[in-house]
């Protein structure tokens, strides 16, 4: 697994561990160097100490030789060999060859004289063992002179060592001071570099999180137009990026859905407002028109009482029917009415029209016997029947048929006539005007607007269609079917059974 694919925590921990290890290594190196320098300083005069020890061993050797020459004891010969071996061992550290360097050359001289001393002293010991007094005297004197010379040379060497070591000591001390300063500088620079590396490493590791943070901030500020990460990386950063991408996509989809719903709701509200406006308009008109109908209704009732007092029963019934028609118009307590209520109004209207047109008008009502309690906007069927009577009577006998059928889904009301029929262009314009809630350019009858009174302009028909559509929220609730040229027109209302 690559480093970049490890978790952020692991990567940061590894970086910190690496930094600590580097810092530790740096400190250990500098401490070790300083220790070495201190050891060097401490060992500056080591050669003097060793030389002193060597000189002491030599002195003991010489003393043992003297004792042996004088007393010929076992202890003295043992001591002689002991110290000579010690001195001999120490002698191996001395310069073995002539050297151009003063101190080393002096070491060489000391070594040579020491070897001479050992040789002469061995001769002395051997002569003393053999009790050869002549040789003892000869070699003893020479070995003593040699020892004397040797002591002098050792003293000189000691002074040389002292001078050299003093110089070395001063140099080591200066070097130590310099090394301490350089080490402090080195540690400082190295630590700074480690901190910089650590900073950039953690920045590199945290960069994706910073990017995510920026994007999250933009999203929090309702800016959803942010780029997707499309990350393929593993680990928590990759997971966060992918989750964030999915979240952004989900939010966008949700916003789109809300927008659509909001648009729909706005549309619905607009339509509802429109309906309320239409209703208010109709109500205003009705209120305006209520003055005359009230007066007319009262007048008609008075006329009916008068006709009854005079014994004109037919006139009295006619006037009562007319009064009931107007009463329905006036008593619009609700905006809706049942089909049966609407049919009762149609019956009143047809009676009045039949009194007017007599045998020229034939009204056929084909309605199921059971009650029709489906609701529909008030004053829906009467205007349609009126339109059929008006345009169905072409100077000859007009037949108006009102038929109600029921199937599984709809209650279908058909109102048809046997008139000249509806021109297709006019039908299209009326239906379109009903959808856009405007008045068609061409009048329903084909006459000019001046020739038409208020009820014949098509406004009533458009009003009926619009109200039906708004009430049932269906565009196909109403339709106009032309039976053919001169074959009349059928108005079709489909009321859902629900």
């Amino acid at each position: 697994m690559k480093f970049a694919e490890k978790s952020i925590r692991t990567r940061i921990i590894l970086c910190v561990i690496a930094a600590i290890m580097l810092m530790g290594a740096c400190l250990i190196v500098t401490i070790r160097l300083n220790q070495r320098m201190l050891e060097r300083i401490g060992g500056s005069y080591k050669t003097n100490a060793e030389l002193t020890e060597f000189s002491t061993d030599l002195a003991e050797t010489e003393r043992a030789m003297e004792t042996y020459v004088e007393y010929h004891t076992f202890e003295s010969i043992d001591s002689y060999y002991h110290y000579q071996s010690l001195s001999d061992a120490a002698l191996t550290r001395f310069q073995a060859k002539p050297s151009t360097e003063t101190v080393m050359q002096k070491e060489y001289i000391v070594r040579q004289i020491t070897e001479s001393f050992f040789t002469y002293s061995r001769y002395v010991v051997a002569a003393r063992r053999a009790n050869n007094t002549t040789d003892v005297d000869a070699w003893y004197g020479k070995s003593l002179r040699c020892y004397s010379v040797l002591q002098g040379e050792i003293s000189q060497l000691n002074v040389l060592f002292m001078q050299k070591n003093a110089k070395l000591y001063n140099e080591y001390r200066d070097n130590y001071a310099l090394l301490t300063q350089v080490s402090i500088g080195f540690i400082f620079i190295f630590f700074m570099l480690i901190l910089v590396v650590l900073y950039f490493s953690i920045t590199s590791i945290m960069k994706p999180l910073a990017d995510i943070s920026d994007v999250a901030l933009r999203v929090a500020n309702r800016d959803f137009d942010v780029p997707l990460f499309n990350s393929t990386a593993r680990g928590e950063i990759g997971n966060i990026c992918r989750a964030f991408d999915r979240m952004i996509i989900s939010i966008r989809e949700y916003i789109d859905t809300i927008w659509e719903k909001a648009l729909q709701e706005t549309e619905l509200k607009e339509k509802e407002l429109e309906m309320h406006e239409l209703y208010a308009d109709a109500k205003l008109r009705a209120l305006q028109n209520q003055i005359n109908p009230h007066f007319l209704f009262n007048t008609l009732n008075t006329g009916a009482q008068l006709a009854m007092m005079e014994g004109a029963d037919k006139t009295c019934f006619f006037m009562e029917q007319v009064a009931d028609f107007f009463r329905y118009n006036i008593q619009q307590k609700n905006q809706t009415a049942t089909i049966d209520e609407e049919l009762a109004l149609v019956d009143n209207f047809v009676y009045i029209m039949k009194v007017r047109f007599g045998e020229r008008l034939q009204f056929i009502k084909d309605v199921p016997s059971e009650k029709n309690m489906h609701l529909l906007p008030r004053m829906t069927l009467q205007p349609l029947v009126e339109n059929c009577i008006k345009h169905g009577l072409n100077g000859s006998k007009g037949i108006v048929v009102l038929k109600i059928e029921k199937d599984s889904f709809f209650t279908i009301i058909r109102i048809s006539d046997n008139g000249c029929g509806f021109p297709p262009e006019l039908r299209k314009k009326i239906l379109a005007a009903a959808l856009s809630d405007s008045t068609p350019d061409v009048p329903v009858s084909g006459k000019s607007p001046e020739e038409e009174n208020g009820t014949n302009t098509g406004t009533g028909l458009i009003n009926v269609i619009t109200r039906l559509r708004l009430y049932f929220h269906r565009s196909n609730v109403f339709d106009i079917v032309t039976n053919g040229e001169g074959q009349g027109t059928t108005f079709l209302i489909r009321i859902p059974n629900v």
Binding site: L22, C26, V29, L33, R36, M37, R40, Q95, K97, P98, S99, T100, E101, T102, V103, M104, Q105, Y108, I109, Q112, I113, E115, S116, F117, T119, Y120, R145, C146, V149, L150, K164, K167, L168, E171, Y172, N175, L178, L179, V182, F186, I189, F190, L193, I194, V196, V197, F200, S201, T203, S204, K207, P208
Partner: protein, 328 residues
Amino acid sequence: MKFTVGHSARIITICISIVMVMFFFFFLFYLVPHITDTNMNESNTAENRKFHIIVVGKAENESFLQQIYAGAQQVSKKYDAVVEVHVPESRAENASLQSLLEYASFTNPDGIIAYIGESDSKIDPPVDIRGKLIPLITVVQYHPDIPQVSFIGTNYSELGRKIAVESSNYLHGRGSLLIINTSISNNPNYSTLMNSLSNSLEEYSGIRTTISDLGFSHASSSLEGNVKNEIASNTIDLIVCLTTEDTIRAAQSLSDMNRGGKTGIIGFGEGDMVDMYFNRGIITELLSIDPQKIGETAMSELFEYLRYGYANSYIAADVRIKKAGDRR
């Protein structure tokens, strides 16, 4: 390649890491050794050599021996040898030549160059710890009792002729000359020198020669008085001295009489005092054997003996002449 902040941070991290590693190695392998390295140049340039040669002599000959040492030292590298000089620091030590040679033998050298004076006698030859004779080169004085490899000394006959020629040159063939003769009368070398000088001067008829013949027992005050008398009574153009001591005393006398530069001195020998008078112009010419050349020759002979087992038994040293014009 898309370059982002993340990429640049990574590149910077890598660059700084490389710098860190380089810095670490620079510190550890350059700076630290540089700081901890001691300036013991002598130790650093020191070299071990195969042979060890020692120059010994008495304190009174230190100056001469130091020059022999210098000459030997010059050629020491050529012979892969280390040359040492062992001379007592002052005459107060009163070290005999025998003790100096014994010292030398204790160090087991490969060869000894010894200055043996006229008074040194009954000297045991130096032997190493194995009892083997150490090759010995003697200079100045030949000692027939010592088994020496070579003797490097003055050709006194030649020296006499050279002094005569130099005197004639100084006097331009005409003038009065005083020879101070104070040395040991029975010294054959000195006799040779005097004979050679006298015979050579006879060839120059224009030069009047006077010999101030003073014995060895004469005190220095007598010599100076005698010299002063000679200069005062006769018109002396040039004084010839055959030893270092005579040269110094003659120079002192001339200096006392304020005759420096008026009466010339042709001296013989080496030393600080002689050099001082020479530099002051009181000593006109100074003849000496070339000690550095002796050192070089001694080394050559010694190693010839060490390599081939034989060497020249007698070698005449070159005579060096310093004239007033050579003064620095």
